[in-house]
Symmetry: C2
Subunit: 385 residues, 2 copies
């Protein structure tokens, strides 16, 4: 506990925008996060008081970092599971636990576990050779194949859409030669993507935000609409229940985001994330309790906060670096003049094409209107395409 305040010290492994926004929420709870940053001038390192530097894949660094923390949590999944197992065995309080986190770190483990428990997942197979990949392609000739790195992918990296047998075999050979563990999945004939985001505490309390629609571009989340427009009540409830059951079954502590494919007939689980997630950034301005505050409450076993939205319609758009050079400061002037109601969250990153620099949120009565405003705001800030 912090000696001055008597309040907990939370350590966050990783110093990206999630840690940055978590620190912002921690300030309200009387805390100041301890951040483990890999690089100088990181998104969270720029704004937090207690920043330590070191690689997140070094056991000694992690062990030292955890000393004096009431709980250690994560900004990203790129922490070796074997190190986390050692730390847990040494009594370091880690949330989510290594046993849960593996299902967000390893898509093969996730698919195997969820499939075994009867959750709706796409047809899939692990791929240890190009023969296995071709055999799987033969099983799903109509759908086509999505090849995925079982570990380490994000924002569309580590995902390849391959329908042609030669191309598939060649890609598999290349990736296996690089040591990338692979799975293959059938392409789901989705109508759109949804996300069900919940939080769970060690005590077992769960809280769910409204189910949202997520709009991806080149595999990167670009827009989130809350609640998902036109989603049938029973399907929304089913998605929330699905996420809550997964949180319980996997004993997740903290925020769990379940990315879903919606098809005309069903919901299919795409990915899991066990941390605050892009699909719930809208909660900072749009919900009584933000996902960042809720994640901290959950991992500290505080009772969870209300998840009620603050407006009938909320839209979030990511700000992704564009091709035109220009001053973010000047663009902020234009944006604030154009729309005094938009909420801006910038991540302190150097603008580069294709890089997530921030997000904007708009609240209102009607989803298409707020979506247009959020999109226009993001375009103003990002500059070019």
């Amino acid at each position: 506990m912090d000696p001055q305040t008597g309040l907990p010290v939370v350590g966050v492994v990783g110093a990206g925008q999630l840690a940055r926004m978590m620190h912002q929420a921690a300030i309200g709870l009387g805390q100041s996060l301890r951040i483990l940053a890999e690089t100088p001038a990181s998104s969270a390192g720029l704004v937090a008081a207690e920043v330590r530097h070191g690689p997140a894949d070094d056991l000694a660094v992690l062990r030292d970092f955890a000393k004096g923390c009431q709980v250690v949590t994560f900004d990203h999944e790129q922490v070796p599971a074997e190190h986390l197992a050692v730390l847990a065995a040494e009594g370091v309080p880690l949330y989510p636990s290594p046993q849960a986190l593996v299902f967000a770190q390893d898509k093969q483990a996730m698919r195997a576990r969820l499939g075994a428990e009867g959750y709706p997942v796409p047809r899939w197979a692990s791929v240890g050779s190009h023969d296995e990949a071709l055999a799987f392609l033969a099983e799903v000739p109509q759908a086509g194949v999505v090849l995925k790195a079982a570990r380490g992918g994000y924002d569309g990296r580590g995902v390849w859409f391959l329908d042609d047998a030669d191309h598939l075999a060649e890609t598999v050979d290349q990736l296996l030669a690089q040591g990338v563990p692979l799975i293959a999945e059938e392409r789901v004939p989705l109508t759109r993507e949804l996300a069900a985001v919940v939080a769970r505490s060690p005590f077992g309390q769960v809280a769910a935000w409204p189910v949202v629609e997520t709009v991806q571009q080149d595999g990167m989340c670009r827009e989130v609409l809350a609640p998902a427009p036109g989603l049938a009540d029973d399907r929304a409830l089913a998605a929330q229940e699905l996420a809550i059951r997964i949180a319980r079954d996997l004993e997740v502590v903290g925020v769990l985001a379940v990315e879903l494919f919606e098809t005309p007939e069903a919901l299919v689980v795409n990915e899991l994330a066990m941390r605050p997630h892009n699909s719930a950034h809208w909660t900072i301005d749009g919900s009584r309790t933000s996902q960042f505050e809720q994640h901290l409450r959950a991992i500290l076993d505080y009772p969870l906060g209300e998840t009620a939205p603050l407006a009938p319609a909320v839209a979030m758009a990511n700000v992704v670096g564009g091709s035109e050079p220009g001053s973010l400061d000047e663009r902020l002037h234009h944006l604030f003049a154009a729309d005094p109601g938009v909420k801006v969250h910038l991540y302190g990153k150097e603008p580069r094409p294709g890089r997530k620099l921030g997000h904007v949120t708009v609240l209102g009565e009607e989803i298409q209107a707020v979506r247009e405003r959020a999109r226009a705001a993001a375009e103003t800030l990002q500059g070019g395409v």
Copy 2:
């Protein structure tokens, strides 16, 4: 400008809770505040990355602190006006400017200026001797006298209610001997206290939040009700117009809080603050744009944000250290279990009786209901009386 982001560097003189909450807002705008802290482990120093230590009444410290800042602003008024004048003459961008800030630093200057401009102020006199104090008492025998330190008072400090001539003369002698500059005011027969909070940019844009009722106890703000219950529309509008006119006349840049006495007949100006103010803490959770974001937008000459409230009724209660020892962490558990909708803001201070440790905010439909919840939440956190 920050070399990585191209966004402005804002310096804040002082490291109390206002600087802490301003930093929280700055994170969203892509910034990281530079904080000048007098003491280690200060409220803002605990949570910000760039903290410099030194006394705010040392010109060399201030000059060094301001280097590289796009603008320097203030967490409190205890910065010598003569130092600020030197810095301004050297071209340091200060908002509010020293010429404006003096009217928040010096009650005599404020009373003289507002009186000369025809603003409604109580009858008052400067007091350079006990004879002057007694002469003023003779002018307002029915009302009684409030003796005030012209500089340096806050949270009820530097204010004395004195109706008895002997006691008045004795107090004046003591204070003058200590070098405290004094003014005397008639006691206003108020029905309640209000606050009109606005922001103004160098461009001249102004924005006003709804007028609130403030509830003091021992001179310290304890509760704020937004909007002020039962306030007639024309009087609310008059209070907003009054604050906007004062902001323009005094060329205030940033947030201006005008504390008002309401009497059956009129509004009377009590105090001015040219910074985020306790009476607008409710805006963090309860308004589209918080006073902390708005202050930053104003001093950076960004267009101002919408001030619409997010619910029909918002109540804020301060958390003031109580007499019972106990763990703030444990109290947070109880509070979150009792009311999952309350928003908590803790300031990172060591709990001590009578000290402002934080505040809580509740949004809802009906003011008495949210007031009860806010009061109950504050009582849970503060422990004893």
